[in-house]
Each structure stands twice: as C-alpha cells, then as structure tokens.
C-alpha cells in the first residue's frame, strides 16, 4: 500500500513539474514573429498597451513608420490562440500570424492549409471579423477558425482604439447560444434522472449526447480540454466555449454529487461504444474478459493519460496529448494512426463491451480516478472526525 502511494505521489510530482516547466517557458515578446510579420522593418518601438510601432530606417538615417503591431488571444478548440496583427498607416490589416496555439495539430494544419489567413490582409482594422459574415470559416475546423478571427479582431481593435480615429463596432457581450442552452439542459437533466433511478433513460441521454455533443458540436470532452485547464488557459466569459461548460458540469458531478455521470449518461463516444457492444450481443460475439484480466489492465488508461500529459507539457505543446478517437469520428480529422485507431476500437468494441472506454479512454480514467479520490478523502475526513 505504501509503495502504491509513493508511486502515485511520484507520478503527480512529475506531472506538476512538467506543468511548471510549461508555464515558465512560454511568453516572451515575440520579436522573431514581428520580423516575420514586417520583414522590411528595422526595429520595433514599444508603445503603450503592448502595441509596437514597426519602423524602417533608411540608409540616410530617416525613419519611416510602417505600421502598428499588437497581439491578442482568444479561445480555439483546445485552448487559447494568440494572433499578432500588423495594421498599416491607412488603418488596414497588412499581415497577421498565429504566434501561439495549442490546437489539436490536425485542426490547425487544416486551417493553415486552407486559404483562411489570406482573408484578413486588406480588411479595415475596425471590421467586425465575424465568422461567416466577414470571414469564412474553414469547414470542420470552426472552433480554430473562430479563435483566430476573434484574436485578430481583438488585436486590430486594440490598435484602432489607440492609434486611429476610426469608429469601432460595439463589443459583443456574453450571450448564451442554442448549443449552450441545450447542453445546460442535458447537464441538469442527467443527475435528476439518475436520482430518480430511471437508469434506462440513460440510453436516451446517451443518444442526445451523441447528437448534441458529438455530431452537432463535435466537442466531446478530451484530454486536450483537461490539459488546457491544467496549463492555466481558462477561456474568458465573453467567448465561453462549449467544452468548458461541459467540463465544469462534469466536474460538478464528480466533486459535488460524487459520481462520474459523463461516461454512461452523456459521452458520445460511450454511445458509439454501446452501439458496437449491442451489435456484438446481437451476433453473440461478446467475449466477457475475466475479472482477473480486467483488473490487470485497470490502470492502463490512467497511465496513458499521465504519459500523454507529461509529454505534452514537457514539449510545450499540451495539445499533442490528445490521442482520442473523437477527432476522426466526429470531426473527420486525424493523422494516419488515428484513422487506424477508429476502426480498431470500433471493431474490438463489438467483442469487448466498451473496450476503448474501459482500457484506453484518458477522460474516463481521470474522471473515475477523481471520483475515487473524492470518496477516499471523504472517508478519511469522516474517520478523523
């Protein structure tokens, strides 16, 4: 018992160290990025409010201002995206660059490969930069597109407010959208049904989760959401992402209600896994692994989640921690190995019920571990008092 506690503490310490390394390594003033943005500039003069003036010094020593540079961040799919914008003296966006992001590589590459970034240069810096009005989103990478557009808007508007006599569009306030309201409804309904012991209704909520969280929002809880929060990247209230509400709701289940109600009641991947298992049952293909077997691999998913998080933070790219099958399944994105993963886990799921969930899913592993931890802490407190 003592050995296992020591092992757990060592694992937690390694994770904490990698997070600290990540938190202390980032930042800087991005001078390299500024040179990429304005290659003709000779120097960048810092001004008020984190804005820089790009200055070109001619051979005769005369100085010419090329424009103004500012960076801002907004929430993307996996975490914040920081965009740096160069606005010329006419008040138009001249160039822009994503300087920091922790997006899932598949989504980010997709946006960069599309001609998304080419839509910004030439736009007036006081434009709304609203997705699908002013800027076309890249299909199947809407969250990343929105994050970049929003960060570009903030940076451009910051420059306009300080350096130009141009009118800015009114700021958007916090507003709940249809997807937020649907999700909040689902999150509120589940504990109620569970409390009433209407266990069979979980098939309905699972299906609703599949439709809303999976197909519609393509945003099942993933390890990159958890790594984003662990890395201190909390989204702002004005652009509150869907996944954040989901994460807070599920953590509420764990901490306050002491139950992991996500996996069996809401998770879209859980719904798919149960569908596979039903097909297996129908064809009498199910193999029930012995309890000895299940016990043997019980800790596998948590160990994998730990490994992915530590590697992600240590390499300063927490988004690489995401190895789930959600991306290829719901967003049709992924690298070659992820595409191999999808048929493999769907296939094995026919033979072993919830094969992915029970042995590989990092989110399930972490939620179950937190639930157990909560129970143990409560027991300990009760024993002491």
């Amino acid at each position: 018992m003592k050995r296992s506690i020591a092992l757990r503490l060592a694992a937690l310490a390694a994770l904490a160290l990698s997070i600290m390394w990540y938190l202390t390594s980032g930042g800087g003033d991005h001078v390299d990025s500024m040179y990429k943005l304005a290659p003709q500039a000779s120097r960048f003069v810092p001004m008020q409010g984190g804005i820089y003036r790009a200055v070109k010094i001619a051979e005769d020593g005369s100085q010419e201002t090329l424009g103004f540079i500012a960076s801002e961040q907004a929430a993307g799919y996996a975490g914040p995206i920081m965009v740096m914008v160069l606005v010329n003296l006419e008040g138009s966006v001249k160039n822009l660059l994503v300087v920091e992001n922790i997006e899932t590589p598949a989504f980010f590459t997709r946006v960069m490969a599309a001609e998304f970034m080419e839509q910004f240069p030439g736009k007036k810096a006081n434009s709304t930069f609203a997705l699908d009005e002013d800027i076309d989103a890249v299909s199947r990478a809407t969250f990343t597109s929105r994050g970049i557009a929003e960060a570009a808007r903030k940076a451009s508007h910051k420059i306009v407010a300080q350096e130009f006599d141009m009118e800015l569009p009114p700021a958007r306030g916090f507003a709940l959208s249809y997807e937020h309201i649907t999700l909040l409804g689902l999150l509120a309904l589940v504990p109620f049904l569970q409390r009433m012991r209407l266990v069979k209704t979980r098939y309905l909520t699972l299906f609703a989760g599949f439709l809303v969280i999976g197909l519609w929002q393509k945003s099942p809880l993933s390890l990159s959401n958890i790594s984003s929060v662990l890395g201190g990247n909390l989204p702002s209230l004005a652009d509150l992402p869907f996944w954040f509400i989901l994460l807070v709701g599920v953590l509420f289940y764990v901490v306050v209600l002491g139950r992991n109600l996500y996996c069996f009641w809401l998770c879209p991947m859980g719904a798919v896994a149960e569908g596979c298992a039903m097909a297996g049952e129908y064809g009498k293909l199910n193999m029930a692994p012995s309890s000895r077997h299940m016990k043997k691999y019980r800790k596998l998913r948590l160990a994998l989640a730990w490994l992915a998080l530590v590697v992600g933070f240590a390499s300063l790219s927490p988004s690489i921690a995401s190895y789930e099958i959600f991306a290829p399944l719901f967003a049709l994105q992924g690298n070659k190995a992820q595409w191999l993963m999808l048929p493999f886990f769907l296939f094995t799921g026919v033979f072993v019920a919830r094969f992915w969930c029970r042995y590989f899913c990092p989110v399930g592993g972490i939620l179950d571990a937190l639930t157990t931890f909560r129970t143990e802490v409560l027991k300990w407190i009760r024993a002491k008092s």
Binding site: P105, A308, S315, I320, A321, Y323, N335, M341
Partner: protein
C-alpha cells in the same frame, strides 16, 4: 503452462490498442518538431 498466464485474444487486443495509441502520440510529437 499455468492457465492463468496464458495469453488470450483479449490480451492481444489490449497490446495492439496500446501500440496504436502510442503511435498516435508519437506522430503528434513528431508533428511539432
């Protein structure tokens, strides 16, 4: 051989799953360097 030590199809599934998951992680790591 001790029947408890015998490898089953289930063990093979887990091993293969592990290889694929590690391959995804490796490809993700490679994509940032």
């Amino acid at each position: 051989m001790d029947p408890r030590k015998k490898l089953t199809l289930f063990d093979a599934f887990v091993a293969l799953g592990l290889v694929i998951v590690l391959a995804v992680l490796l490809l993700n790591v490679r994509s940032i360097f």
